[in-house]
Structures are given as C-alpha cells and as structure tokens.
Assembly symmetry: C2
Homo-oligomer: 201 residues x 2
Amino acid sequence: MTPPLEFYFDFSSPYGYIAANRIDAIAARHDRGVSWRPYLFGATFKLTGGQPLVAYPMKGQYSIHDFARSAREHGIPFSMPAIHPLATQTAARAFYWLDAQDSGLARDFAKSVYSAYFVDGLDITDPAVLTTLAGSLHIDGARLLAAANDDVWKQKLRAVTDDAIGVRGVFGSPFVFVDGEPFWGADRLDMIDRWLSRGGW
Amino acid sequence: MTPPLEFYFDFSSPYGYIAANRIDAIAARHDRGVSWRPYLFGATFKLTGGQPLVAYPMKGQYSIHDFARSAREHGIPFSMPAIHPLATQTAARAFYWLDAQDSGLARDFAKSVYSAYFVDGLDITDPAVLTTLAGSLHIDGARLLAAANDDVWKQKLRAVTDDAIGVRGVFGSPFVFVDGEPFWGADRLDMIDRWLSRGGW
C-alpha cells in the first residue's frame, strides 16, 4: 500500500475548500488515497508573522477575485462568505471524533461543512448549523456537539495542529504532503498531479 | 493587434525569474506578445504589510525549496543567490533606457540580469557586473550606467512603480495582466495559458 497524501486544511480557508473539491480525484488518478487533516491555521499566523489573506491591503482584494476565479475554472460553486475568517475548532474537533469511527463519514462531514460555509454562506461556528449538517448525514448532532466540547477531541485537534506546525512545517491551507514532499496552496494541485505522474523531478 | 500581456516583475524575485523564462513562449502560443515591466517590488511591502518571502519563518524555508523545484520542473537552471533580496533600481532603470530604444534588446538585457543573479550568483547591484552583461549584448556599458543614474530614468522607474502599485493594484512578482485580468505568481502561468486558450471563464 502506498501511503495516502496528507491534506492539511482549515475550514475557514477558501483555497482549502477548493482543494477539498479536487484532491480526492487527483489522488485517485494515481491510485492514491488522501488523509484529511483539518487543523487550526490561525495558529500559524503568530509564527509566520502572517495574517488572513483578505486582511492584507491590495492582496486581499485580489484574493477574493482569485478565490472565485479559481473555483469557477473547475466548476466548483463558490460564494465569498460575509463573515470571514471565522473560528473552526468546533467543526475540526467534530471531524476527528467522526474520523476515529469512520474516515469516509468524517470526509463527507468535512465537505458538508465547507459547502455550508462557501456555498450557502452559513455560520459554521453555530452549533445549530453543525447539528443540521450532521443530521443530513445521519450523524447524531447532540453527540457530535458533545464530542466537540470533550477534552479528548480538544486535545486531539491541538496535537494535530502542534505537530503540523511545529514538526512538519505546515503554515498554510491547503498544505499537502506527497511522500514527505510539501506543497502549499490550491495552485499547487496541478503540480501535485504532475509530480505523481512523473514520480517527482 | 491584440494588446500584449503586461508582465510586472522585480529583478530580485525568484518567481519573477521563473516567469521570465516561460512567459514569452506561453504568450506566443496564443499569438500574443509580452510587455516587460520591471518595477520596484519592495515598495509594495510597506503597503501590504508584507516582506520578502524568504524573510518569513517556515514560509521562507518552503519557498527556497519551491523556487528550485518550480524551476527544475521546467528545466530552468536555478541557484539560490547568497545575497537575497537585493536592490534592483540600477538594473531596472537601465532596462527602461534600453527599452526606449529597442524593446527586444531590453528584454535580452533583462534575461541576462536574471541569469547573472539566479544562475551565476552575481551581485546585480554591482555596476561592473551590469557593464559586463551590457558588453556581452554589444551595449555600451558606460552609457548604460550613466542612464541608470540619470534623472530621466529614475523618474521613469518611479512612474512605472507608482502606476503599477497605486493605479493597477500590482503587489507581487511576477504579476501579469491579460486584457486587464490580474494574475499573481509564477504558479499562475499555467492558468494564464488556460485562460488564453479558453478566452477566460
């Protein structure tokens, strides 16, 4: 078994959303799976001296234009949410609770969180929104919220985030490892595809 | 005549160097020319709150890895210069002096400046380096240096830079306009190619 691609993302990241819509198909073309790993991207800002893209003068405006253009190229629905960025720890903890039971279901949940935010403009920090999303996947919403407030899953998310940033050098979203090779950004997905075709270069 | 692509870059920018090696061929595939426009990228840092990529923790290390990988993919020679970034106004002013006489020769000079810095590791702030580069293109090095210190070309570079940043919203290198559509980054060159093929989307 070749190891899966490791896909780090934050639920508040527009480029993470675009990558979430494309990465499984790219990996599948090369008989590879994908390990989905939401983490708390905001924690990197302190370390890198960065801030959310949309907060930069000039770059912010360009980015909002580019999010929509990048999505449109691939036929991915996208609408810039009114509230952006937002805190994503509840959704991410719920993801890991699901992931420990059923990674496919966790991925479906992640996709539905992303769509809720970047297509329907819903507030994914709102517990009621998350329970509705859970319900449509036949997940018990009350249990999901309880898990998201449970120390076990708080610690899990913290451990993933600390490892990503402190050990693996992850600083953006999406951030993908292919056999240890790091790729930052949705604009690297085509490069990942070529990297997998050529076996690197 | 369809208007040329407008290619903004800074001589100190590794991704600008990669774009300089690819953009003419991409444009030519679509029967388009390219207007080369060196500008002073550093002036955008104050406005965007940014800094040179290599100065960021984590992102800096990744970027140095990615410069080489991005160049290697396209068979472009690349060696990270020991002194980086550096000030590029002398080379840029000399470019515009040449450009007013012969845009093809100015482009050849730009390519030789980029190669001197990113292949041979030469200090392109050094007048002796620039006169040697000029000489190999049969350009009078003494006249080139005199032009680079002449107020006319100082003002020209300032005007290009002010217009790029203040009017057109340019904030990075490379930064390309295709019929007014902005594309930031060497990783957008393939998107530019597809954009030209599809006539936008």
